[in-house]
Amino acid sequence: MCLALPARVVELHPDQVATVDLDGVRRRVSTALLEEVAVGDYVVLHVGFALTRLDVEEAEATLALFAQLAADDPAGPGGR
């Protein structure tokens, strides 16, 4: 129910199938639940289906926020 991961679309095939890549691991998955998808998109993958396209802008904003917090960490870089 919850285990879903972002993977990158590397190839599109007929009949609503795409090949996705996650760190070199590839699988054919269904894109039947998406309105549109393009090579290079990141999709959230669950039980062999793409559930949504990742919003790259939002992802980058989230990462930037956390990176800023990490930089402000009073314990300093590499500190524990």
Binding site: L33, G48, F49, L51, T52, A61, A70, P74
Partner: protein, 365 residues
């Protein structure tokens, strides 16, 4: 974009925990429940409860669809697996869940039943295509995240004219379950909302609950920083006396969810008037079944299945634990008769259940 490192940075975690500490009132307790088993997994794996101030209590929620599936439904899967012509396809999570008398699909397989673990319902469909002489049944479980794939596969079976494929549909719905959890005296101050369920259904279905129950809900992603951020947002709402639904998983969740996925589900399935969730009892509109138009692929119609209510063990207090009213340590069989290897109740049956997590990782502080 292998970006998970940025979502697991311990320095940002410390900063978020610090921010939380500054926000909260040291004189009160905050009881926060994560609804979703995947969140329980992340919290335990990264030791997040231990990073929080002592007055923030994280209460593990219903766990996941494995936990709340009634024993009688597991028994139905076992009935099907016992038929020599049936190949029963299941997600790995269900393989060792005991039915009545403690038998599981794994035990059935050891006894000669044709039970296969699949990663995707598409694999079950492909199997039906490859083995026309077998009756392939897909044991469909899951909340709203997992339901659209099942619906797609039923449509696929119809399009391919497959007469040897059917689905035993046990999909369940989150809002009635959250509502049941909030019903009563759990004293929960906030809920961490299920990020992938909301990826499908959006945040709308949670709004009515938050308002009616006056409990804030923050929808979170599944990396440790996602959860720390969501907990901080909940504390801020609690302090401000708000009970809104907020989305902290904006990279995946849109307010409207995935309309195409929802339409696909709606085409193939309908809401059952009532469905029992283990530990929470019979709830209205809590489960889905396959619509009459797709009856040809509904295992409940194709096969005669017995649906006999199976009571939980008399010592089981999972209902109270699922509602956050009691702790696993309050249960007199916790860790003795009831363990992850010999689960008696819903909360121990999957590794994300409250009791299983408690057993494995200790009491979250």
């Amino acid at each position: 974009m292998r970006y998970t490192e940025g979502l697991r940075d311990p320095r940002a975690a410390r900063a978020l925990a610090e921010g939380l500490r500054r926000e909260l009132d040291p004189r009160r307790r905050y009881r926060i429940m994560e609804f979703c088993g995947g969140h329980t997994h992340t919290l335990c794996r990264y030791g997040i409860p231990g990073m929080l101030p002592a007055n923030v209590e994280l209460v593990h929620g219903p766990g996941c669809p494995v936990c709340v599936l009634p024993i009688s439904r597991v028994d139905q899967a076992l009935q099907l697996a016992a038929r020599p012509e049936v190949t029963l396809c299941t997600y790995g999570d269900m393989l060792r869940v005991p039915g009545r008398e403690g038998r599981s699909l794994a035990a059935a397989r050891a006894g000669g039943a044709d039970v296969r673990v699949v990663y995707s319902p598409s694999d079950a469909l492909a199997l039906a295509r490859a083995r026309p002489e077998r009756q392939v049944v897909f044991f469909a479980v899951g909340f709203e995240t997992t339901t659209p794939p099942t619906a797609v596969v039923v449509r696929g079976a119809a399009a391919q004219g497959l007469g040897n494929f059917s689905v035993l549909c046990n999909h369940v719905l989150t809002p009635p379950a959250i509502d049941a959890v909030l019903d009563g005296d759990a004293g929960l101050d906030g809920i961490i909302g299920p990020g992938h369920v909301c990826t499908v259904v959006g945040t709308g279905p949670l709004v009515a609950i938050a308002g009616a129950r006056r409990v804030p809900i923050v929808v979170a992603g599944f990396e440790p920083l996602d959860l720390l951020q969501a907990i901080g947002m909940l504390v801020a709402q609690i302090e401000a006396g708000r009970s809104d639904v907020e989305n902290a998983y904006t990279r995946s969740v849109r307010p409207e969810g995935n309309p195409k996925a929802m339409a696909t589900v709606d085409e193939v399935m309908e809401v059952r008037p009532r469905f029992a969730l283990r530990g929470l009892g019979e709830l209205p509109h809590a489960g889905l079944r396959i619509r009459p138009a797709w009856a040809a692929w509904d295992a409940e119609r194709r096969f005669e299945l017995v649906d006999e209510l199976v009571a939980d063990h008399p010592a089981c207090i999972c209902g109270s634990i699922l509602r956050g009213a009691k702790r696993p340590s309050d249960c007199r069989v916790f860790g003795t008769a009831c363990t992850p290897d010999t689960p008696l109740g819903a909360c121990m049956v999957s590794s994300e259940g409250a009791c299983a997590a408690w057993f494995e990782y200790g009491a979250p502080r």
